[in-house]
Protein backbone atom coordinates (compact mmCIF):
# COMPACT_ATOMS: atom_id res chain seq x y z
CA UNK A 1 0.00 0.00 0.00
CA UNK A 2 1.22 3.51 -0.85
CA UNK A 3 0.19 6.49 1.25
CA UNK A 4 0.95 10.13 0.45
CA UNK A 5 1.46 12.42 3.45
CA UNK A 6 1.10 16.12 2.74
CA UNK A 7 2.27 18.35 5.57
CA UNK A 8 4.48 21.42 5.73
CA UNK A 9 6.00 20.04 8.95
CA UNK A 10 8.63 17.55 7.85
CA UNK A 11 8.68 16.09 11.37
CA UNK A 12 5.06 15.00 10.94
CA UNK A 13 5.85 13.26 7.65
CA UNK A 14 8.81 11.48 9.27
CA UNK A 15 6.65 10.48 12.20
CA UNK A 16 4.03 8.98 9.90
CA UNK A 17 6.73 7.20 7.92
CA UNK A 18 8.18 5.72 11.11
CA UNK A 19 4.72 4.56 12.13
CA UNK A 20 3.65 3.06 8.82
CA UNK A 21 6.85 1.69 7.26
CA UNK A 22 7.07 -1.26 9.67
CA UNK A 23 3.59 -2.26 8.44
CA UNK A 24 4.89 -2.47 4.88
CA UNK A 25 3.23 0.78 3.87
CA UNK A 26 5.23 3.04 1.56
CA UNK A 27 5.03 6.74 2.35
CA UNK A 28 5.25 9.37 -0.39
CA UNK A 29 6.22 12.77 1.00
CA UNK A 30 4.91 16.17 0.00
CA UNK A 31 5.50 19.35 2.00
CA UNK A 32 2.97 21.56 0.22
CA UNK A 33 -0.24 21.38 -1.74
CA UNK A 34 1.68 22.24 -4.87
CA UNK A 35 4.16 19.41 -4.33
CA UNK A 36 1.27 17.05 -3.63
CA UNK A 37 -0.30 17.81 -7.02
CA UNK A 38 3.07 17.45 -8.77
CA UNK A 39 3.86 14.11 -7.12
CA UNK A 40 0.40 12.75 -7.85
CA UNK A 41 1.28 12.95 -11.54
CA UNK A 42 4.42 10.88 -10.93
CA UNK A 43 3.18 8.24 -8.51
CA UNK A 44 -0.37 7.35 -7.61
CA UNK A 45 -0.94 6.62 -3.90
CA UNK A 46 -3.74 4.44 -2.53
CA UNK A 47 -4.52 7.00 0.15
CA UNK A 48 -3.68 10.62 1.05
CA UNK A 49 -3.26 12.18 4.49
CA UNK A 50 -3.57 15.93 3.91
CA UNK A 51 -2.82 18.63 6.48
CA UNK A 52 -5.36 21.46 6.61
CA UNK A 53 -3.11 24.25 7.88
CA UNK A 54 -0.39 24.77 5.31
CA UNK A 55 1.10 28.02 4.02
CA UNK A 56 0.15 28.97 0.48
CA UNK A 57 -2.36 26.44 -0.80
CA UNK A 58 -4.04 25.05 2.32
CA UNK A 59 -5.43 21.54 2.72
CA UNK A 60 -8.99 22.37 1.68
CA UNK A 61 -7.80 24.09 -1.49
CA UNK A 62 -5.49 21.19 -2.27
CA UNK A 63 -8.36 18.78 -1.71
CA UNK A 64 -10.50 20.74 -4.15
CA UNK A 65 -7.82 20.48 -6.81
CA UNK A 66 -7.36 16.75 -6.21
CA UNK A 67 -11.09 16.14 -6.55
CA UNK A 68 -11.35 18.31 -9.67
CA UNK A 69 -8.94 16.02 -11.51
CA UNK A 70 -10.69 12.89 -12.84
CA UNK A 71 -7.40 10.95 -12.56
CA UNK A 72 -7.09 11.57 -8.81
CA UNK A 73 -10.69 12.08 -7.77
CA UNK A 74 -11.16 8.52 -6.50
CA UNK A 75 -8.11 8.49 -4.21
CA UNK A 76 -9.42 8.51 -0.62
CA UNK A 77 -8.28 11.55 1.37
CA UNK A 78 -8.21 12.08 5.14
CA UNK A 79 -7.46 15.47 6.66
CA UNK A 80 -4.90 16.09 9.38
CA UNK A 81 -5.80 18.86 11.78
CA UNK A 82 -5.04 20.22 15.22
CA UNK A 83 -8.63 21.37 15.66
CA UNK A 84 -11.41 18.99 16.64
CA UNK A 85 -14.39 18.62 14.35
CA UNK A 86 -16.83 21.53 14.66
CA UNK A 87 -20.27 22.27 13.28
CA UNK A 88 -18.66 24.90 11.06
CA UNK A 89 -16.31 22.29 9.59
CA UNK A 90 -19.20 19.94 8.94
CA UNK A 91 -20.95 22.66 6.96
CA UNK A 92 -18.06 22.88 4.48
CA UNK A 93 -19.08 21.28 1.22
CA UNK A 94 -15.62 19.68 0.98
CA UNK A 95 -16.40 17.54 4.04
CA UNK A 96 -18.22 15.08 1.76
CA UNK A 97 -15.04 14.64 -0.26
CA UNK A 98 -12.99 13.30 2.64
CA UNK A 99 -13.10 9.83 4.12
CA UNK A 100 -11.74 10.79 7.53
CA UNK A 101 -10.57 13.57 9.83
CA UNK A 102 -7.56 12.87 12.04
CA UNK A 103 -6.70 15.18 14.92
CA UNK A 104 -3.11 15.80 15.96
CA UNK A 105 -1.45 14.44 17.97
CA UNK A 106 -2.25 10.99 16.59
CA UNK A 107 -0.88 7.55 17.26
CA UNK A 108 0.12 4.76 14.92
CA UNK A 109 -3.09 2.94 15.79
CA UNK A 110 -5.13 6.05 14.86
CA UNK A 111 -3.61 6.01 11.38
CA UNK A 112 -4.04 2.27 10.98
CA UNK A 113 -7.70 2.52 11.99
CA UNK A 114 -8.22 5.08 9.24
CA UNK A 115 -6.40 2.96 6.65
CA UNK A 116 -8.39 -0.13 7.67
CA UNK A 117 -11.45 1.68 6.32
CA UNK A 118 -10.04 1.37 2.81
CA UNK A 119 -7.89 -1.77 2.96
CA UNK A 120 -7.51 -4.98 4.91
CA UNK A 121 -4.31 -4.30 6.83
Amino acid sequence: MKVMVVDDEVEIIELVENMLSPEGIKVIEATSGKECLQKLREERPDFIFLDIMMPGMDGWETLKKIKENPKFRDIPVAMFTVKPLTSKTLKRKEIDDIVDYVTKPFSKEDLLEVLRQVADI
Binding site: D74, L90, I95, V99, E113, R116, Q117
Partner: protein, 102 residues
Protein backbone atom coordinates in the same frame (compact mmCIF):
# COMPACT_ATOMS: atom_id res chain seq x y z
CA UNK B 1 -16.90 7.73 26.56
CA UNK B 2 -19.08 8.26 29.63
CA UNK B 3 -21.33 10.45 27.55
CA UNK B 4 -22.25 7.42 25.50
CA UNK B 5 -24.41 6.24 28.37
CA UNK B 6 -26.41 9.37 27.72
CA UNK B 7 -26.59 8.42 24.05
CA UNK B 8 -28.34 5.23 24.94
CA UNK B 9 -30.70 6.99 27.31
CA UNK B 10 -31.49 9.63 24.76
CA UNK B 11 -32.02 7.12 21.98
CA UNK B 12 -34.51 4.98 23.83
CA UNK B 13 -36.17 7.72 25.80
CA UNK B 14 -35.60 6.06 29.14
CA UNK B 15 -33.23 3.19 28.58
CA UNK B 16 -29.75 2.75 29.98
CA UNK B 17 -27.17 0.41 28.49
CA UNK B 18 -24.90 -1.69 30.69
CA UNK B 19 -21.74 -0.07 29.45
CA UNK B 20 -20.57 2.79 27.28
CA UNK B 21 -19.45 0.33 24.60
CA UNK B 22 -22.87 -1.26 24.54
CA UNK B 23 -24.39 2.20 24.34
CA UNK B 24 -22.22 3.04 21.36
CA UNK B 25 -23.08 -0.28 19.69
CA UNK B 26 -26.74 0.60 20.11
CA UNK B 27 -26.25 4.05 18.61
CA UNK B 28 -24.29 2.66 15.65
CA UNK B 29 -26.93 0.01 14.95
CA UNK B 30 -29.60 2.71 15.07
CA UNK B 31 -27.72 4.79 12.52
CA UNK B 32 -27.21 1.80 10.23
CA UNK B 33 -30.84 0.80 10.48
CA UNK B 34 -31.65 4.04 8.67
CA UNK B 35 -29.08 3.60 5.89
CA UNK B 36 -25.68 2.04 5.10
CA UNK B 37 -22.86 4.35 6.18
CA UNK B 38 -19.10 4.75 6.04
CA UNK B 39 -17.14 4.83 9.30
CA UNK B 40 -16.55 8.57 9.15
CA UNK B 41 -20.22 9.19 8.37
CA UNK B 42 -21.04 7.47 11.65
CA UNK B 43 -18.53 9.69 13.49
CA UNK B 44 -20.09 12.75 11.83
CA UNK B 45 -23.58 11.50 12.64
CA UNK B 46 -22.73 11.06 16.32
CA UNK B 47 -21.23 14.55 16.37
CA UNK B 48 -24.30 16.09 14.71
CA UNK B 49 -26.74 14.17 16.91
CA UNK B 50 -24.93 14.32 20.26
CA UNK B 51 -22.27 17.03 19.90
CA UNK B 52 -19.45 14.64 20.77
CA UNK B 53 -16.53 14.07 18.45
CA UNK B 54 -15.43 10.47 18.91
CA UNK B 55 -12.15 9.30 17.49
CA UNK B 56 -11.56 6.54 14.98
CA UNK B 57 -10.11 4.42 17.79
CA UNK B 58 -13.38 4.64 19.67
CA UNK B 59 -15.72 3.91 16.79
CA UNK B 60 -13.95 1.67 14.26
CA UNK B 61 -13.04 -1.19 16.63
CA UNK B 62 -16.75 -1.38 17.51
CA UNK B 63 -17.62 -1.60 13.82
CA UNK B 64 -15.20 -4.54 13.57
CA UNK B 65 -16.74 -6.17 16.63
CA UNK B 66 -20.27 -5.79 15.28
CA UNK B 67 -19.18 -7.19 11.91
CA UNK B 68 -17.48 -10.15 13.60
CA UNK B 69 -20.68 -10.82 15.53
CA UNK B 70 -22.68 -10.72 12.29
CA UNK B 71 -24.76 -7.73 13.36
CA UNK B 72 -23.45 -5.58 10.54
CA UNK B 73 -21.69 -6.34 7.28
CA UNK B 74 -19.16 -4.33 5.38
CA UNK B 75 -18.69 -4.03 1.66
CA UNK B 76 -16.46 -1.93 -0.53
CA UNK B 77 -18.08 1.27 -1.78
CA UNK B 78 -16.27 3.43 -4.33
CA UNK B 79 -12.97 3.20 -2.51
CA UNK B 80 -13.92 2.75 1.11
CA UNK B 81 -15.82 0.25 3.23
CA UNK B 82 -19.49 0.87 3.83
CA UNK B 83 -21.40 -0.76 6.69
CA UNK B 84 -24.98 -1.98 6.70
CA UNK B 85 -27.10 -3.64 9.37
CA UNK B 86 -28.01 -7.33 9.09
CA UNK B 87 -31.16 -9.13 10.24
CA UNK B 88 -29.21 -10.27 13.29
CA UNK B 89 -28.26 -6.64 13.97
CA UNK B 90 -31.88 -5.56 13.71
CA UNK B 91 -32.92 -8.31 16.12
CA UNK B 92 -30.21 -7.15 18.54
CA UNK B 93 -31.36 -3.54 18.21
CA UNK B 94 -34.95 -4.55 18.93
CA UNK B 95 -33.97 -6.54 22.02
CA UNK B 96 -31.78 -3.71 23.32
CA UNK B 97 -34.65 -1.31 22.75
CA UNK B 98 -36.98 -3.60 24.70
CA UNK B 99 -34.48 -3.77 27.57
CA UNK B 100 -34.30 0.02 27.54
CA UNK B 101 -38.04 0.39 27.87
CA UNK B 102 -38.43 -2.14 30.70
Amino acid sequence: MGNLLLFAMDSTGNGLMKSSVEGLEFVILQFLKKKPMRGFDIIKGIFQRFGVFLTQREVYPILRKLAKEGKIKKYKGDSIYVYSITREGEDCLNSLGRLGSE
